[in-house]
């Protein structure tokens, strides 16, 4: 590894938070422009975490578990609603994605249908409950409205993320040239894959980018979609067709000839996952 030796000892101390002011500032300045030393810092943090793991053995008391579960129950969360405010695109009219046109409306209707069924059953169940029906309806309607607004909010977030017209700007350390990068989010169980890439070089003539999934089993890479980035080098792939049940070890993007078979990589890698 071409680690900068003059920083080697300081890097180890920094990974433990033990490096003091002037030296820390000098190292942080160097780290901002040195991916090799940043990578070594991650490894040193991993090494030091081994020290932490040697302490295992003490069990927290049962009261700690009760306290935690009570706190979790007191803060229920709805799926996907993590953004405090909806993120709005600055673009012109949004094209509905597969998600907006099918996924969320279907969920909303399913939720609404389930609630209506419950209300009807309650109506029929017992005449003694008649007096409570009005308040039950109000309660269910409030839940429905609440769920609807949260789903709408989530819908906005997803639509913005996937909107090709949305302004997408990547921020890097000042003075650095943006590097090609990508992020693959893959869920084996449902074969869901979302891939974002940015700062990709413009495609040469008759070339195309291709995403590959490297199976954890060590088998041959699996084609996970062809794509062309936009003028700013950004691209998004959502749920390309993939075989089921494949655990992924890594992902990579290669530059491929546009024509011919795309079943096995022929071109050169452009970006690869750091896990490899």
């Amino acid at each position: 590894m071409n680690l900068h030796e003059q920083f080697a000892d300081d890097l180890a101390l920094y990974s433990l938070g033990s490096l003091e002011d002037a030296e820390r500032q000098a190292l942080e300045k160097h780290l901002a422009g040195c991916p090799t030393c940043r990578r070594e810092l991650e490894l040193l943090r991993g090494d030091s975490s081994l020290l932490a793991l040697t302490t295992t053995g003490a069990k927290p008391p049962a009261r700690a578990r009760q306290r935690f579960l009570a706190a979790v129950a007191a803060e229920p969360r709805m799926p996907l609603v993590t953004a405090p405010t909806p993120i709005r695109s600055v673009s012109a009219p949004r094209r509905p994605s597969w998600w907006t046109s099918f996924g969320w409306p279907a969920l909303r209707w399913a939720s609404a249908a389930a609630l209506v069924v419950i209300v009807i059953r309650l109506l029929r169940q017992n005449s003694e409950l008649e007096g409570n029906l009005a308040s039950l309806r109000t309660q269910f309607q409030a839940q429905l409205n609440d769920q609807g607004s949260k789903l709408e909010q989530a819908n906005e977030v997803v639509a913005t993320l996937l909107d090709p017209e949305a302004t997408k700007i990547e921020l890097v350390a000042a003075g650095n040239k943006p590097q090609p990068r990508g992020k693959a989010i893959y869920q084996r169980r449902n074969r869901n894959l979302i891939f974002f890439a940015s700062n990709l070089p413009p495609l040469p003539a008759e070339k195309i980018y291709e995403l590959w999934l490297f199976p954890a089993s060590g088998g041959a890479p699996i084609a996970a979609g062809l794509f062309k980035p936009d003028a700013r080098g950004s691209a998004t792939l959502v749920n390309p067709p993939l075989p089921g049940g494949i655990a992924a070890k890594n992902f990579a993007v290669t530059l491929e000839p546009e024509s011919g078979s795309h079943e096995a990589p022929r071109g050169t890698p452009v970006i690869v996952g750091v896990g490899e």
Binding site: L13, R45, G46, L51, A58, P60, A64, A73, P79, L80
Partner: protein
């Protein structure tokens, strides 16, 4: 709300995905799997059960509120939580505000210690490496890691030159990496 299989083979990623969906059962499963690691580290640093419980509660509540902070591509969950537990405990020890949110910590361990068996084997190796380490080196490493001392504080405490302390800490960390790779 879906119930998550509490079987130990349910992967961390599946549990984290369920937590993202607001599944409290999945959060309890993650707590059961990793609370001992977090608590042990906190107790070792803080030497106080009440303070260690507070760190434990704080870290798992942050994970509940922001499960996306765990990035499986950059390290396994046990190591990630251990590092965060150590950060938080040192902060508490020094009575200062937390310097980092949980999402700020990136840890890379090679090879990945995903399975319980891998983890146990690695711990035997690491404990062995610590036991065979020259006592001054082990002591410098532990003072930096578990007591949160700076290199000049360690130098002052031990009467050793600053450069010696720096070198000892680095070679100590590298020897842990080496023993794990062997």
């Amino acid at each position: 709300m879906p119930n998550v299989d509490s079987n130990a083979t349910t992967s961390d990623l599946v549990l984290v995905a369920a937590v993202r969906s607001g599944d409290q059962g999945a959060m309890a499963a993650l707590y059961d799997r990793y609370s001992s690691i977090v608590y042990s580290v906190a107790l070792r640093v803080l030497q106080d059960t009440g303070a260690a419980e507070d760190v434990l509660q704080d870290i798992f509540m942050q994970l509940w509120r922001n499960p996306g902070a765990f990035d499986a591509s950059r390290g396994n969950m046990a190591s990630w939580l251990a590092v965060i537990a150590r950060h938080r405990s040192i902060d508490a020890l020094r009575r200062r505000r937390p310097e980092n949110d949980i999402e700020d910590v990136i840890v890379s361990i090679e090879p990945d210690l995903a399975s319980e068996a891998d983890h146990s084997r690695a711990m035997v190796k690491v404990r062995g490496a610590l036991e065979t380490m020259p006592p001054p080196q082990r002591s410098a490493l532990e003072m930096a890691y578990f007591e949160g001392l700076t290199h000049s504080e360690i130098a002052e405490k031990t009467g050793e030159p600053l450069g010696t302390i720096k070198t000892r800490i680095r070679s100590g960390l590298l020897s842990l990496r080496k023993v794990l790779a062997a």
